[in-house]
């Protein structure tokens, strides 16, 4: 479940990363973060996503179909492997359900499952949706320029504030000049890199700049590669689409 939720969160970051086009004026650190996250809020999204997870040298492949609407509605349906086909997750606000054809009925998962963090214990979906990254961290930004002095992007350094629900010592977030999320490096509290998430293969869909590949590599070598196939934004998705009945229908 963690991997699926991690995927969902990454997907939403990726979507948000490209939603906003480049601004004309330089922004402060908090505003850059806001630009990165602001785009996908309240919008609908649909895609097929291929996930390859490598743990201890063994790779498993999954294909899932995802629908999201706003900050608190998401439906994830597993397409492949065949053994898990038809099972999926539904998030409605603070509630989370899991369905498997073998169970025959959807079961509610503990609300704490919703806080399942991105990439294990990184910023959660809620953090990104509700702008808590800037609330929980002191953010410093520095411009990254090319050899010609032109602005290439921004390097944001996020340090957790006292009492913030953050287990990391530091996050280093690289954003392009177009405010597309490019890379996140997670440091532990001893200064060591725990994992990196790279956002690659950016495509333009209408106004949107969208990374279609997300590669997460843990310090121990485990990795997850996610390829977003045929992404659609702003599709007509009524909130009533996200129901337990639909989850159980396995459609």
């Amino acid at each position: 479940m963690g991997r699926v939720r991690a995927f969902l969160g990454m997907l939403l970051i990726a979507a948000g990363a490209g939603w906003v086009s480049a601004a004309d004026e330089p922004l402060d650190a908090a505003m850059i973060l806001e630009q990165v996250r602001a785009g996908w809020r309240g919008e609908s999204f649909h895609a097929l996503v291929e996930i390859e997870i490598t743990v201890s040298g063994t790779t498993r492949r999954h294909l899932v179909e995802v629908w999201t609407c706003g900050e608190d509605r998401a439906l994830v349906r597993i397409v492949e492997p065949e053994a898990e086909a038809g099972s999926g997750y539904l998030q409605l606000g603070d509630a989370l359900w899991y369905y498997s054809p073998a169970l025959g009925t959807a079961i509610a998962l503990p609300a704490m499952g919703l806080t399942q963090a991105l990439f294990g214990a990184g910023p959660s979906l809620g953090d990104l949706a509700q702008g808590t990254l800037s609330r929980d961290h002191d953010v410093q930004a520095e411009a990254v320029t090319g050899a010609d002095g032109a602005l290439v992007g921004y390097l944001l350094t996020l340090l957790p504030r006292p009492g913030a629900p953050v287990v990391y010592g530091k996050l280093a977030v690289t954003v392009t000049a177009d405010y597309v999320l490019s890379k996140i490096v997670y440091y532990d509290q001893r200064g060591a890199v725990l994992r990196t998430a790279a956002f690659e293969e950016v495509v333009r869909i209408g106004e949107i700049l969208f990374p279609t590949k997300v590669v997460v590599v843990d310090a121990n070598g485990d990795r997850a590669v996610q390829r977003i196939l045929d992404p659609e934004f702003g599709i007509a998705l009524d909130p009533s689409f996200f129901t337990v009945e639909r989850l159980e229908a396995g459609e």
Binding site: D94, P110, A111, M112, L114, T115, A117, A121, P160, P162, G163, A164, P165, V166, V167, Y168, G169, Y186, D188, Q189, L194
Partner: protein, 406 residues
């Protein structure tokens, strides 16, 4: 009679190997009985003492609803806490400490684990449990934003003193999370306590949205019997059926099953050990009597009465029993005293097999005086009973027949 003593004593050392064999048998029986009683009683004592001193206090006060269903909505309200304070006023107590406990997820950069989050009043807690003395790294809680973890939990999540962890709680205020700085690590002997993370009660109230406490833990002055205090508290709260006074067994229902009659349950083992020792003594004594039939016949012929001869045989068994008991009992008692002071570390066994039963990882042997009496009674009595048949045979020997047939 002095002659009988002398003869019996001299007889023993005419066959030192046989005497040593019987002594070893009796010593082994005494040792096993003493150790059995000491360890079992020590286990019970260690378990109750560890629970009281490290975890729950002498007794607790909670709502009857919380006892039936330990959910946050059944916590004591601030008004009930005030009522309890008034009700217990005047009782001879060491202290009262409010607790607010909730299931929580604890996260570090390296993992996530389920814990019981216990909110405490750091000052009041000192009067009820020895939590401050259990801190083996860092320091005890001093205020908000701090958390204590067990050494085992910290190792599992790879957390060091000074590092931040995140606690996620599902309370009446929904799912809330907060970062805490790990200020100290404690080392409990009760395995259950390894899954407890301790923070200030105000922080836990803020996270859960519950303003009261799930329980009031009560500490008693040293030497005060808890049963009497529990009865007194129940009497004082008789008009409050919604409140419950929970004694040791109410808080540890599994312990009741484990402890009840634990000493009585040992009796079959003690009887078996007594029989083994008895057969050993009887067997050896019997053959020593058979072997000395001719000798006994001569003794009867020169005027020794059958009764005195039987007395000599019984005295031999008594000497052997006494020597065996002195050796076995001495070694056993010294061992119990040593393990009563230093404890027996069962941590790997307890963690693997029965951590959920609330058994302590270190068991301190008990060394009560009555074990000595029990072992002495069993072993010496058995030795005497075992020597009775050979003694009877010696008593009935006909001198002429014995000399001819021996």
């Amino acid at each position: 009679m002095n002659a009988a003593f002398r003869i019996a004593w001299r007889n023993l050392w005419r066959h030192p190997q046989r005497t040593l064999l019987m002594t070893v048998i009796v010593a082994f029986g005494s040792l096993v009985i003493l150790v059995l009683f000491g360890i079992v009683d020590g286990f019970v004592g260690s378990m109750t003492a560890a629970h009281v001193a490290e975890d729950q206090g002498s007794f607790q006060l909670r709502t009857a609803a919380y006892a039936a269903d330990p959910a946050l909505e059944h916590a004591l309200s601030p008004e009930q806490l005030a009522q309890l304070g008034v009700a217990l006023n005047g009782m001879r107590l060491a202290g009262i400490a409010p607790r607010l406990e909730a299931g929580a997820m604890l996260r570090s950069a390296y993992g996530t684990d389920g814990v019981a989050l216990r909110g405490i009043d750091p000052v009041a807690e000192r009067t009820v449990t020895r939590l401050p003395e259990m801190v083996v790294a860092g320091s005890y809680l001093t205020g908000s934003g701090e958390i204590l973890l067990s050494v085992a939990l910290a190792a599992e999540l790879d957390v060091r003193v000074g590092e931040r962890v995140v606690v996620v709680v599902s309370g009446s205020a929904g799912v809330k999370s907060r970062g805490f700085v790990t200020v100290g690590l404690f080392s409990p002997t009760v395995v259950e306590m390894e899954r407890v993370a301790v923070a200030s009660i105000e922080d836990v109230r803020e996270l859960t949205g519950v303003q009261g406490a799930t329980s009031l833990a009560v500490g008693l002055p040293h030497g005060t019997p808890s049963e009497r205090a529990v009865a007194e508290a129940r009497r004082r709260l008789a008009d409050h059926p919604d409140l419950e006074v929970a004694g040791y067994f109410d808080l540890n229902p599994l312990a009741r099953v484990m402890i009840s009659g634990s000493t009585i349950k040992l009796i079959p083992f003690v009887i078996m050990i007594g029989l083994l020792a008895g057969f050993g003594v009887a067997n050896t004594t019997f053959y020593s009597v058979v072997e000395r039939t001719r000798e006994f016949g001569v003794m009867r012929a020169v005027g020794m009465s059958g009764k005195t001869l039987a007395g000599v045989v019984l005295l031999e068994a008594t000497f052997v029993g006494a020597m065996g008991f002195a050796i076995g009992g001495g070694i056993g008692y010294a061992g119990l005293l040593y393990f009563g002071r230093n404890g027996l570390d069962f941590s790997s066994f307890v963690r693997d097999v029965s951590g959920s039963l609330g058994m302590p990882t270190v068991i301190y042997a008990a060394a009560s005086g009555w074990y000595w009496m029990a072992a002495f009674s069993v072993v010496v009595f058995t030795a005497l009973v075992a020597a009775w048949y050979p003694a009877r045979r010696a008593n009935r020997l006909e001198p002429v027949t014995a000399i001819r047939e021996g």
